[in-house]
C-alpha cells in the first residue's frame, strides 16, 4: 500500500490512471510495473544498459546548456520529453535530476504502468498515451530536451517521426536519439545475438530492415534546422556484463542534435 489519500486527490490531470480505474486494474498495473522494474526480470537488458545511457544523456544536456553535470539536480527546471517512455526507466531518473518530465508512449498499457510506478515512488511525472505527431498537432509547448531512445527503429515513418520530434525542441534546445545502426555487425549482434543467442529480447523484437543509419537521422532532421553535435556507440562487454560508451557506432549508438537560437545560443 503506497498510495495515499493525498496522492489520489492530487493526481495530475493528464495521467491515465484516475478515480475510474478499478482495484483489479490497479493490481494488474502494479504487477506489470514490478515486472518492468525488476532488474533480474525480462527487462534485465534495459536495466543493464540504463546507467550508461543515463550518464551520456545527463552529460549531453548539461554540457549543451552549460550546467554542471555533477551538481545535485543538473536538469532542474528543464522541460523534457521522453518519447516511447515504456515503463518509465528513463523518465524517473530525469525527474530526480530535476527536469519537468513528460513521458509519452503509443501503448496505453505502458503509460499506465509507468504512471503506477511513479506514483509508488512518489515522483511527479506527466505520462500520456500519445505520439509526437499528436503532440505537434495539439500545439504542445516546446521542450528544452527531447529524448528519442530505442524508438526510431519501431516507427512506420522515420522521417515524419524525427521531424515531429525535432519540431517539439525549443530553439537552443537539444535532442538525443538512440537506436541501432543498419549494418551487418548490427544484424549479427543486436538482432541475432540479442534475440537468438543471448535471448535478451523476444525473437522478433527487431526488424533489421528498420534499423536506422546515423546519416539518415542527420538528413531527416536537417530541414528542421537541427544539427548533429556528437555521436557515440554503446557496446556490451560480455566479460564484465556491462555497457560502455565507445567510438564505434556500428551497432547501438546515440546522437546528440541541437537547435540554433534561444537564450545564449543565438
Amino acid at each position: 500500500m503506497t498510495t495515499t489519500a493525498a496522492d489520489q486527490a492530487e493526481s495530475p490531470t493528464p495521467r491515465v490512471s484516475g478515480a475510474t480505474v478499478d482495484g483489479g486494474e490497479i493490481a494488474k498495473f502494479e504487477k506489470m510495473a514490478a515486472e518492468w522494474w525488476d532488474p533480474h526480470g525480462k527487462f534485465r537488458p534495459l536495466h543493464k544498459f540504463n546507467p550508461t545511457r543515463l550518464a551520456y544523456i545527463r552529460d549531453a544536456i548539461a554540457g549543451h546548456l552549460g550546467r554542471d553535470p555533477q551538481s545535485a539536480a543538473p536538469l532542474r527546471g528543464l522541460r523534457l520529453l521522453d518519447v516511447g517512455c515504456g515503463g518509465g526507466l528513463v523518465c524517473e531518473p530525469m525527474r530526480r535530476l530535476g527536469a519537468e518530465v513528460v513521458g509519452i508512449d503509443a501503448s496505453e498499457m505502458n503509460v499506465k504502468v509507468a504512471a503506477t510506478h511513479a506514483e509508488e515512488t512518489g515522483l511527479s511525472i506527466d505520462y500520456r498515451a500519445s505520439t509526437v505527431e499528436a503532440l505537434v498537432d495539439g500545439g504542445e509547448p516546446q521542450f528544452d530536451a527531447v529524448l528519442n531512445l530505442e524508438a526510431v527503429e519501431h516507427v512506420a515513418d522515420v522521417d515524419l517521426f524525427l521531424q515531429s520530434s525535432a519540431a517539439l525542441v525549443k530553439p537552443g534546445g537539444i535532442m538525443v536519439v538512440a537506436t541501432i545502426n543498419r549494418t551487418l555487425k548490427a544484424v549479427a549482434t543486436a538482432k541475432i545475438g540479442a534475440e537468438y543467442v543471448l535471448r535478451w529480447l523476444p525473437v522478433g523484437t527487431h526488424d533489421p530492415r528498420k534499423f536506422v543509419k546515423p546519416s539518415e537521422i542527420e538528413r531527416a532532421i536537417r530541414p528542421t534546422g537541427m544539427t548533429v553535435k556528437a555521436s557515440a556507440g554503446v557496446a556490451y562487454n560480455l566479460l564484465t556484463d556491462a555497457w560502455r560508451v565507445v567510438d564505434d557506432v556500428a551497432v547501438n549508438y546515440m546522437i546528440v542534435a541541437t537547435k540554433p537560437g534561444g537564450p545564449g545560443n543565438a
Binding site: 496522492d7 492530487e10 533480474h40 545527463r58 524517473e92 530526480r96 515512488t121 512518489g122 511527479s124
Partner: protein, 468 residues
Amino acid sequence: MTLQTVAPAMGAVAAIPLGGRPVASPDRPAATKDIAMTNDERDQANSEQGGDLRVDVAIVGGGLAGGSLALALAGAGFRVALVDATDPSVMRDAAFDGRTTALAYATARMFRRLGLWDAIAPSAEPIRDILVTDGALESPSRRGGVVDSHLWFDGAALDGEPYLGWIVENQIIRNALFDAIEATDAITLLAPASASGTSFDAGAARISLKDGRRIFADLAVAADGKRSALAAAADIRSHAWGYGQKAIVCSVAHERSHDGVAQEYFLPGGPFAILPMTNSRCSLVWTERADAADAYIALPDDAFLEAIGARFGVYLGALSLASPRWSFPLGFHFSESFVARRLALVGDAARAIHPIAGQGFNLGLKDVAALVDVLTSARGLGRDIGDLSVLDEYDRWRRFDSAALAFGTDMLNRLFSNDVGPIRAARRLGLSAVNALGPLKRTFMRESGADLGRLPSLLQPERVSSAP
C-alpha cells in the same frame, strides 16, 4: 531537527500524506521525496507531517560500521537516520566494549577522510611488524628464542605505507564517531529506539519505532550485526555455523616495549594474538574451545594472569592485567545476498568471520566505503538508490570480494586450531614457504591492509602532489 511523536495506529497510514508535502497546484502531486526539494523544504515537510521522518538512508545499528556509514553518507550529501536500541552514553562507556580493532592501513585512510583520524590517532598504536608462529606451548618463541617455522611481515616492505595498520580500542573509535555524528546536521540519531516493524516496498523502506515514530527512507541499511533482524525481515538467509570456540579478550600492561610487533601464536585451542597498544599495553585475543574459555574466564585474577603468562612468554617482561576480561562466542555466517529491495547489509549483518586474521571490522568498513560509492554514483544519474538494479552493484562488489576472505579465514582456523602432528608439519612448512616468497608475502600484507581488490574511493591512497 525536531521529532514529534505520531499516533501509532496503522489506520493513520491513509490519513497522513506519507509522501505528501503541501501542494501548490493540482498538477503537482504530493511527493515528499520528489526531486528538487532542498533539505530545508524536506525538514519543513517532515515537521508538517506530524513527525514522520523522511530520509534518504535509514541505518539500523549504531555500531562501528553503522556509525561510519552514517558519517560517510552525510559527507556525500545524503540525509541519514541512525537508529540504535542502546543509549549512546552507554555505548560510549569503556565497560560497553573491551575489544580492540586492528585498523588496516586502507581503513585508516577512510577515517582520515571522515575527519576522525585526529581523534583516533593519539590512541592508535602502529603495527610495525607481524610475527606469526605455529607451535605447542613449549615453543622457544615464548622465551624470545629462535623459531624455525614462522612468518615475519616487515612493515618496511610495503611501498608508501609506513605501517601495516594500527591497534585501537573500540571505545576510542566509538567516541570519535558519536562526537562527529552529534555534530552533523544531516544525521538524525534515534537512540535509544528500536524498530517494531519494517517493510520494504516499491515506494520506501518503512521502519516503525516502538515509540510510534516512523521513518521512511529510499534505502534501509542493516548494520545491526550477526542475526540481523532487518535482514531477517527481508527474508535474507545466511549460512552459519559455530566454531565451539570463544575469544577471551583483555589488555595487559607489560614491562618491556613491544616495539610495535603484533604476534599470533597458533596454539591447539586456537590462535593467541598479542596486539601492541599505546602506553606499553597489549591487547590479547585468545581463542579457546568454549568450555576451556569459560573455565579461564572464571579463574581468579592471579591464576588468569598465570595462564596468560604461560602462553605469552617472557619477551615483554612482567605482566599485569590492564582491563576487565570479556569473552565472545565465535561463529561464522555469510549472507546469501547482501541486498534486497530497499535494503543493503553491511558489516557483521552481511557476514561475520573468525577473528583469526583481524579482518572483520575492515571488511565492514570496506562495505561502507563501497556502498557510499555505489549510492553516490547512482544518485548522480538520478537512479533510485533503493532499487535492486543499483544495489546489485554493491552486492556483486562486496559479496564476491569478501567471500574468499571469509571462507579463507574459516579454513585457516580449522587448519591451525588443532594439534594433529601431520597437519602441524604441513602448516609449518607452509609458513616457512610463504615467508621465503616475497611477492606472496606482500600480497598477504596488502590483503590484511584491506588494500586489495577494487578499492572504494574512501579507501584509495591520497594523491600526493610533488612539491614544486
